[in-house]
């Protein structure tokens, strides 16, 4: 599965099915500081994602 990180870096992981929550936890990301899209659609953290999904992690908290 392809994961696009908040800094636009790309990570490919071989772990499916997995919940979005597990993926964020493995990456040390607080779910309250990001929103997640799967294949362009917003999803909650208890979504189960599959090997062919593209997950984008978008950081929402920053100053300005």
């Amino acid at each position: 599965m392809k994961i696009i990180l908040p800094d636009q870096g790309i990570l490919v992981i071989d772990r499916s099915p997995a919940s979005v929550e597990q993926i964020l936890s493995d990456l040390g990301i607080n779910p309250l500081e990001v929103i997640i899209s799967r294949n362009g659609t917003l999803v909650p953290e208890d979504t189960i994602v599959e090997a062919d999904d593209e997950i984008r992690i978008i950081r929402i908290s920053h100053g300005g």
């Binding site: 309250l32 659609t41 917003l42 208890d46 929402i60 908290s61």
Partner: protein, 311 residues
């Protein structure tokens, strides 16, 4: 969390068979995009009405930085405007003069104002105070957020008054408000902790309203994403000097491990305010000797700051 899963692997909405886009911790519900948008808009409208934030014939200056919170605020107020009799909006953007940051957000602000058909005005530190923030901060960058906060508030008030506004609406969300409570506690600033900027309806202040103050930041970002209006914008280069950054990380960690922390902080603020009602925790309001603006000492913060900056 949990709940019935849609074939897509996403839990279904609590109100219909569609896949959900968010799990709301505070309501313990999964919601699809349609029901989520409706829920956010109704909560904001309820908050406005319960707190009498908008009155007939108001002209509301929406502080529009171009970031996500103010964009969501303008979208929401513009869409719901027909609910209030003879109320109009004007969007106001403050250009502090921050190289590599502000130009992009000002462009975004202009685009959103145009999209919703709201008049848009820009006021700059350069015009009002004689220099950009970058220049004013030379050698005192660690004071950036204090200096910027004081001058931005003044700029916003000036622009609002100039455009005939009766109120100023800002996009502060629940996370911002909870962070401010904690920051005021950490600074030991009791007067600021209990101050209510919307409470004074005399002619001394233009009342400020915060229609998004009960909406978590994550819901604001989700709202904009669904509306196709979420933009990745640059971060303010002075953020690294701010206490708020540390408080934000700490508080969102606490909220994640102990859901409801932010709401309880807001409740604490209200409780302290109730106990202190009628007592004087700050000096009585006077007029600044230099500019005549309301203040608690001989001079207002802006005049004191201008003096220290040699302006």
């Amino acid at each position: 969390m949990g709940g019935k899963k849609h074939p897509s692997g996403t839990p279904t909405c609590c109100c219909c068979p569609e896949p959900s886009v968010i799990y709301q911790q505070h309501s313990q519900r999964h919601l699809c995009s349609t029901h989520f948008i409706h829920d956010v808009e109704e909560r904001v409208v309820q908050g406005i009405e319960n707190n009498a934030m908008i009155r007939p014939n108001d002209r509301i200056a929406v502080a529009l930085s171009g970031g996500k919170d103010s964009t969501a605020l303008l979208l929401l107020l513009a869409h719901q405007l027909k609910r209030w009799r003879d109320v109009s909006l004007v969007a106001v953007t403050v250009d502090e003069g921050i190289e590599g940051y502000r130009n992009e957000t000002i462009k975004a602000a202009g685009q959103v104002a145009e999209k919703v058909g709201v008049e848009h005005h820009i006021i700059s530190f350069q015009d009002l105070f004689g220099d950009s923030l970058d220049i004013l901060l030379k050698g005192r960058e660690e004071q950036a957020c204090t200096v910027c906060g004081i001058l931005r508030k003044k700029a916003l008030s000036e622009a609002a008054k100039k455009n005939g506004a009766t109120r100023i609406a800002t996009g502060h969300n629940l996370d911002d408000e909870a962070q401010s409570v904690l920051m005021n506690v950490l600074r030991g600033d009791l007067p600021r902790l209990v101050r209510d900027s919307a409470a004074d309806t005399s002619d001394r202040f233009l009342p400020r309203i915060k229609p998004l103050a009960e909406i978590p930041e994550k819901e604001i970002a989700s709202y904009l994403f669904i509306k196709g209006m979420f933009l990745l914008l640059p971060e303010c280069p002075y953020t690294r000097f701010a206490l708020r950054g540390d408080v934000r990380s700490m508080l969102s960690g606490l909220e994640h491990r102990n859901p409801g922390t932010m709401l309880r902080l807001m409740e604490s603020k209200k409780t302290i305010g109730k106990y202190l009602a009628g007592s004087s925790v700050s000096d009585p309001l006077r007029r600044c000797r230099q500019c005549g603006d309301p203040c608690s000492g001989d001079s207002c913060q802006v005049c004191r700051l201008r003096q220290s900056l040699g302006r």
